[in-house]
Symmetry: C2
DNA sequence: CTGTTAGCGCTTTCAA
DNA sequence: TTGAAAGCGCTAACAG
């Protein structure tokens, strides 16, 4: 601990007051060139490094932004984290991550970790914390939520998941599919619910009847995707395509399908949602709705910085678009499950163009 | 800011001194039950929450541990991060992540972020920071490195990557493969180099001649795996198996192989390294060397806590084992590339049993 | 057991 | 421009 160099030591070495040293460090106030040099030299010589903790206490600003996240290991959240970190790059602020791991009982503790560290702002990535808690919190510090809307709170960032679900389903419909299974995510996830809503709308807008029994829970995980698909397969229900509400479950679906001898996309088409970095490399490369989690993260950081500096945030438009790859194709005329011949109505594929999607900001 | 409740206010409310409040908060010193209740009530009533920044300054401990990482979005690092966070759970310490993204120029800034925040200890996950810098740092605070050895520094945590590479290759050799391609990682990654060393040793120990031209760079990424495999395929060189030095490149290899009409494992076997969460769900499920990044992270946290508390760390043994799944199988007697008939010598598969591997701790 | 009183390292009036 | 001094919120001797 003899290592600790303080302003006082620097001031002494440079034969000036601590106030002067402080001014130089922070670039506040005017200081003569001569003193500046003296101080810089002293800093150099002593190897001084400002103690951010002390600065924080004195200034009442920690320069830290809390990020309440769900899963440090998830490929999707990981991208958001990366975006957030990059977004704060060079701003002086730094994100502090704490994950509640989708557990009710961890939220409070997680929040406590952040609050006791006096974070200057909060970014909330999904999660179960009650809206009113968030709302109250937002009265105390800048708060930005991602992937969930909080009524009465301005500053929630999210993509139009409903539209994404619509895009994906519409793509399948346009390819002539009529029996489209849906691997739903947990209904506690806002995203999951919205995506499925898009799936429903696509059917409503078409003349294709929706088969409710083709909608099945898959938990947003690979494992869940496998299980759900196997259940579907075993049930003997006929389907020629599946829309998985996230890429992880889509990959699980692909595995289950292929294991049961189904060819993708000849026998069954699959479309996912997220466009994880690895989704372009699975076999076959997955058609999916791209939402750039990284950009979302960057936008969140930008929003926070704006709020912190009292500026208004001009939401940049984040694109949500369908990446058509090799896991989807036109419906086959050969039914795979039942022997009932089908009427196939091939629609114009071009009609499912990707659309730009607005980024909702309160 | 009228929100800020301080010890002083609590003390006043409870009609005691700040020292007493402090004692209660920290459980230090003896306090009568009556005062304790008074104080607890006051804390409750005022909604007091200790300011960790102030505590840190006063105690000279930030309760934060810096984690110098490489990639917030990588599935592999993500797992380590998760393990680290879990490892600190309940210890009062919290990890602060900052990633240098494998960039030379970011290291210094990254370290600065941590040091100015006065972290109590440092966990270094790979990276390019010079050994001597690390060594000097370790003189100032507890320092644990993961995935890289620093000479002269006691407290580096790593799995026996060499052994893992050996295990993987040996498995292939045991299945009768003789032409085994190796998709190498960047030679700047310690892990990558060690894994390949294991590949080499497996050949040396067998009577199978090593074909140097079957070793090719794949950059540890899916994209790199695809490219490398395609180069291999185009070169016309004969091979019946590939050992990819990480799962990401293995998945890329699988894609390239399947796109070129190769069946896995009938035509070509593939084995990876890492056992990422998704590796069991790609098609076909990947045979790979499991190294539990999460456990590694937990171990790192545990090591740090021990050092911080002056205890000696009893390294728990982390298992490194081969997960045999569906991407590997016995060599086929039908050569796929050349028309030269081969001698196939099927060895006893059982001889490549997984071995426990020591966790190296200085 | 409990209160007084110095700091921890830095910023920021307020005067000079 | 510059310096003196009063905190920021909390802890930790040191006396009682």
């Amino acid at each position: 601990m003899a290592e600790t160099v303080t302003v006082e030591m620097v001031a002494h070495e440079a034969r000036v007051s601590t106030a002067t040293v402080s001014r130089i460090i922070n670039g506040s106030g005017k200081v003569s060139a001569r003193r500046r040099k003296q101080v810089m030299d002293a800093i150099e010589k002593l190897g001084y490094r400002p103690n951010l903790l002390a600065q924080s206490l004195a200034r009442g600003q920690s320069m830290n932004v809390g990020v309440l996240t769900q899963d440090m290991a998830s490929p999707f959240f990981g991208q958001m984290h990366q975006g957030i970190e990059q977004g704060f790059q060079g701003s002086g602020y730094h994100p502090i991550f704490v994950s509640e791991e989708w557990q009710d009982d961890k939220q409070h503790a997680a929040l406590e970790v952040l609050l006791s560290r006096r974070v200057d702002a909060l970014i909330v990535l999904g999660g179960y914390i009650e809206d009113d808690v968030l709302l109250e919190l937002s009265g105390q510090l800048p708060l930005v939520t991602v992937g969930r809307e909080v009524k009465g709170l301005e500053g929630s960032l999210s993509l139009d998941n409903e539209q994404g679900g619509y895009l994906a389903t519409r793509h399948l419909l346009d390819l002539g599919h009529r029996q489209i299974a849906c691997l739903a995510g947990p209904d506690t996830h806002y995203d999951a619910v919205d995506r499925m809503a898009g799936y429903l709308r696509a059917f409503q807008e078409s003349d294709v009847p929706l088969q409710r029994d083709l909608v099945i829970d898959a938990l947003f995980s690979e494992e869940g995707g496998v299980r759900a698909t196997e259940r579907l397969l075993k049930s003997g229900k006929h389907f020629t395509a599946v829309f998985a509400c996230n890429d992880q479950s889509a990959i699980g679906a692909q595995l289950a399908l292929q294991r049961h001898g189904k060819r993708i996309p000849q026998d069954v088409s699959v479309v996912g949602f997220d466009d994880l970095p690895s989704s372009a490399f699975v076999y076959p490369p997955l058609t999916t709705v791209r939402q750039s989690a990284k950009l979302l993260g960057q936008a969140a950081a930008a929003a926070v910085i704006c709020k912190l500096e009292g500026k208004t945030f001009a939401p940049s438009r984040l694109e949500l678009k369908l990446m058509v790859r090799e896991s989807t194709g036109p419906v086959s005329h050969m039914p795979t499950h039942t022997s009932i011949p089908q009427q196939v109505e091939q629609q114009v594929a071009g009609s499912s163009r990707p659309r730009k999607v607005r980024l909702r900001m309160g």
